[in-house]
């Protein structure tokens, strides 16, 4: 890629900070904005914000919420690269919600780097050009004869040099350049390197604050008693004992819930135990077995409309010389971030302050404004670093509760959820049932593929996923099952399970027609490239690229004696991932020895952070495939803490080997895409080893295969 000139759609705001130095903000006009004038007031969105001190220190704002995906480090790296500063002189500040200044203050959809790549580069490059222009003006030379390096402007011919810090005051008076040159990726010094998480020092010394650590003058801690089963309502309760408990300041009730407020977290939790509410329901609460039976019944019929139809599925299935059928069960799973839900709210007569761990701060503000009839501009939202979220913090229920409690108690509050509240509190990865049918012709070519599914969610399919595009007759049918159990996005929504079903089924077909599972996938991708059918959102070459790469890494087809391999690949959030799992039998138990992973996510911003995301997603996907299941008895979750709900632990985490496809494509998502393929890689390896197909999660229930302990007896 050569150095490109960007036709700017943004302009710069300049000002001198109180302490001296340049504030360089980049406003960015949405291309659809009707107000394309140059007037600052017309600019609605700001993508980046740079402050340069006269001491040469550069402060870069991190607008997006940090949930462990590393954007507080990686996004400023993009700005710093184009600004051409030394990373050790960069200070990063977390921005609060400010929709006038920033766009997309979101942690979700693996989208932060994807959406920030171009505007953040432009912000950095524009800043750099202003500093260059200031130096050139000072030296009376052509700016094009000046170069920059690590926070200094150089003039080669005269040997002059000057630091950004010494230039900022002048730079702030310079006209804003219209067109800026972006760096040639070959000259990147920061992008693509390994840079440690910006907050690590604070994290490992206990100084890092999370939402749960929020404490303010006059603040009360609060715990909330919610209906124990989905579908229940509050009939009555007696709060006398709770009010007498030490440290308790108030008890309030709203929306079928009871909140206990006091001076400390444990005291409110203890006092709440003394309240024995009477709950009622209409007698229709469902258990896990009911869902299973009802799902099966639902799939006896096709829906009125298909999500996708290519060719003719009936004819395709009938024409097959071999047909295949498989059913996959997907359980409810909770998100279980290590930091339980919590939120701070201070509702005053004329303003509301919200502060805490939230993936969608703007949605939180809008929801509160609407629900509590408070003007949006009176609501301030600050984001704390999050102790994980995995999609749970895309919801706003915990913010709404905090506001309700603060309003009723007339005090600033931090509502803290017990683990039991968090795990029992819903918004789960939806339970679902998938039925697949497929047919192959006499050459073992896949000619028909039918997806039929039902789940407690709007769409259980990703209808344009591979193998769509590669199959002449393909149909996708889904049903939504209505339930009082709340569901929501869980890391790589739908992908996290559908990849298991589809990649297991493809493996089954490959084995059924006597083809190598890697070769079978590559053939399909060739087919998709040569004769694409219908809508296709993936690039078959890049898809094949990761499969070939991982096959090479794992020495596919030639494992060591006693080792069995399984392959799986999936495309999500614009990123291609392929994995090979290796299993072997150790003392009568199947053990996962290692998982290889090849990723094509375009340009890597932070190599250390990227590897951490991929490895973490793989361990996460493996853990939930092995152990993750939340069951219900009459609407009530059976597992509400880690004694009964098993999460993967260190001794169960296998080594992983990760390789990135090196290219200069635009960066794509990375917080989620490495999770979906892992379950099928393991299932397919287990099939290679045992001839047994894993079709339901969690795998630990398949005792014939994994003789893992049902319960852990740890520590």
């Amino acid at each position: 890629m050569s150095t490109s000139t960007i036709n700017r759609r943004h302009f710069l705001k300049i000002g001198i900070t109180a302490g001296g130095g340049l504030i360089l903000g980049m406003e960015y006009l949405a291309s659809c904005s009707p107000s394309g004038s140059n007037a600052p007031a017309a600019m609605q969105t700001l993508n980046a914000f740079i402050k340069i001190g006269t001491d040469g220190l550069v402060t870069i704002m991190a607008p997006n919420p940090e949930i462990g995906q590393g954007v507080k480090t990686s996004l400023p790296m993009i700005v710093a690269e184009e600004l051409d500063v030394d990373w050790k002189n960069v200070i990063i500040e977390q921005a609060a919600l400010d929709t006038d200044k920033y766009t997309r203050q979101v942690a979700g959809g693996s989208g932060s780097v994807r959406s920030s790549w171009d505007p953040f580069r432009q912000a950095g490059a524009t800043g750099r050009q202003m500093l260059v222009n200031a130096a050139a003006d000072k030296w009376k030379v052509d700016p094009n004869t000046c170069t920059t390096e690590a926070g200094m402007v150089h003039h080669k011919d005269s040997g002059k040099k000057i630091s950004y810090g010494d230039l900022v005051e002048k730079a702030a008076t310079m006209p804003v350049p219209k067109d800026v040159k972006l760096k040639d990726p070959k000259s990147f010094k920061i992008i693509g390197t390994r840079i440690g998480n910006y907050d690590t020092k604070a994290i490992i010394t206990g100084k890092q604050k999370y939402g749960i650590d929020t404490k303010r003058e006059g603040m009360l801690y609060a715990t909330i008693i919610r209906p124990p089963a989905f579908g229940q309502t509050l009939e009555s309760f007696n709060q006398d004992a709770a009010r007498k408990y030490q440290g308790i300041k108030d008890v309030v009730s709203f929306d079928n819930k009871i909140a206990v407020l006091g001076r400390s977290t444990w005291e409110v939790m203890q006092a709440a135990r003394s309240i024995k509410p009477v709950w009622k329901d209409d007698g229709t609460l469902e258990s896990t077995a009911d869902y299973k039976a009802n799902f099966n019944k639902t799939l006896e019929q096709l829906p009125k409309e298909s999500k996708r139809k290519d060719g003719n599925i009936k004819k395709g299935l009938a024409a097959g010389t071999k047909t295949f059928e498989a059913t996959f069960e997907c359980p409810f799973i909770p998100h279980n971030p290590m930091e339980p839900m919590n939120f701070f709210a201070d509702v005053k007569a004329d303003s509301v302050e919200l502060y805490g761990p939230i993936q969608l701060p703007d949605k939180a503000r809008n929801t509160i404004a609407e629900k509590f009839k408070i003007p949006k501009e009176k609501i301030k939202v600050g984001m704390t670093r999050m102790g994980g979220g995995f999609g749970r913090r895309l919801m706003t229920d915990f913010v709404e509760e905090a506001v309700a409690v603060s309003q009723l108690a007339k005090a600033p509050v931090n509502v803290i959820w017990k683990r039991e509240d968090d795990m029992g509190g819903g918004f789960y990865r939806p339970m679902a049932l998938y039925k697949y049918k497929a047919a192959t012709d006499s050459n073992g070519k896949l000619i028909a593929w039918h997806h039929h599914s039902v789940g407690v969610t709007g769409n259980t399919a990703r209808e344009d996923n591979f193998p769509a595009g590669a199959v002449p007759n393909l149909q996708v049918d889904t049903h939504e099952y209505k339930s009082p159990v709340t569901t929501g996005p869980w890391r790589a929504p739908i992908h996290n399970y559908i990849a298991f079903a589809e990649e297991s089924f493809l493996d089954e077909i490959a084995h059924g027609v006597g083809k190598d599972p890697v070769a079978f996938r590559l053939e399909l991708l060739e087919q998709a490239k040569a004769q694409p059918v219908g809508k296709m959102d993936y690039d078959p070459d890049r898809y094949a690229g990761v499969i070939k790469k991982v096959a090479q890494m794992a020495n596919w087809g030639q494992p060591k004696p006693g080792v069995f391999q399984g392959i799986s690949a999936h495309f999500s959030f614009q990123t291609y991932v392929a994995q090979v799992a290796e299993v072997s039998n150790v003392n009568g138990q199947w053990k996962i020895n290692k998982i290889y992973c090849a990723v094509d996510c375009g340009t890597i911003i932070n190599r250390s952070g990227a590897e951490n995301q991929v490895e973490g997603a793989m361990i996460d996907g493996l853990g939930h495939a092995m152990f993750g299941e939340l069951t219900l008895t009459k609407g009530k979750p059976d597992q509400t803490n880690y004694d009964r709900y098993r999460l993967i632990r260190m001794r169960e985490a296998p080594p992983v080997e990760i390789a990135f496809i090196e290219n200069n494509e635009k960066p794509t998502g990375l917080g989620e895409p490495a999770l979906p393929p892992v379950a099928a890689a393991i299932g397919n390896a287990i099939f290679a080893a045992t001839g047994h197909r894993l079709r339901s999660q969690p795998f630990m229930n398949s005792e014939a295969v994994f003789s893992v302990q049902k319960q852990q007896s740890e520590v």
């Binding site: 949930i67 462990g68 995906q69 590393g70 440690g196 998480n197 907050d199 690590t200 020092k201 994290i203 490992i204 010394t205 206990g206 604050k209 999370y210 650590d213 404490k215 801690y221 030490q246 001076r263 400390s264 977290t265 444990w266 005291e267 203890q270 279980n336 971030p337 290590m338 930091e339 339980p340 670093r385 999050m386 102790g387 994980g388 995995f390 803290i416 017990k418 683990r419 250390s608 952070g609 951490n612 995301q613 490895e615 973490g616 997603a617 793989m618 361990i619 996460d620 853990g623 803490n641 880690y642 004694d643 999460l647 993967i648 632990r649 260190m650 001794r651 985490a653 740890e714 520590v715």
Partner: protein, 154 residues
């Protein structure tokens, strides 16, 4: 309610609380040291790990009345300048993702490294499996523990 005198990170604290209150909440809500985290409340996740006379304990399940004269050390007091060999190794390996569990991970590792200065992979697995990392940084944690055990040289 009863009055307890505690020594946390060599500083004396006096609290007037229910004798059953777990040490975790005394540390967090009364001493104001929030580096020790709440994860499960039933000693299953290890996020609340602190040292009692040098041993790792799950502070969510230790009543304040059982502490007596024992010295409490939290993540804030593990080293004066954040330069304990494990803290340095954690930085070197770039372990954290969300970071919430990491104080507990470091406190667990710091306690067992005193008895086992050169642990094997399997020993680390066994000794660290009481600490959950939901982000899945286990391999990096293991690498950092080895690094610290080798005196910081990778």
């Amino acid at each position: 309610m009863a009055v307890f005198n505690l020594t946390i990170n060599n500083t004396d604290y006096k609290v007037d609380v229910d004798p059953q209150m777990p040490l975790l909440w005394v540390i967090r809500d009364f001493a104001g040291l929030t580096g020790t985290k709440f994860g499960c409340g039933i000693a299953q996740c290890g996020a609340c790990t602190v040292h009692l006379n040098g041993d790792a304990v799950r502070s969510c399940s230790v009543p304040v009345s059982s502490i007596g004269q024992q010295k409490i050390v939290t993540i804030e007091g593990l080293s004066e300048k954040g330069d304990h060999p494990l803290q340095k190794a954690w930085e070197e390996v770039d372990v954290p993702q969300c970071g919430y569990c990491q104080a507990g991970q470091i406190m667990s590792a710091a306690a067992f490294l005193k008895d086992k200065p050169h642990p094997t992979d399997q020993e680390i697995d066994n000794l660290m499996s009481g600490n959950i990392c939901r982000c899945g940084t286990y391999n990096r944690i293991k690498k950092a523990i080895h690094l610290a055990a080798q005196g910081g040289k990778s």
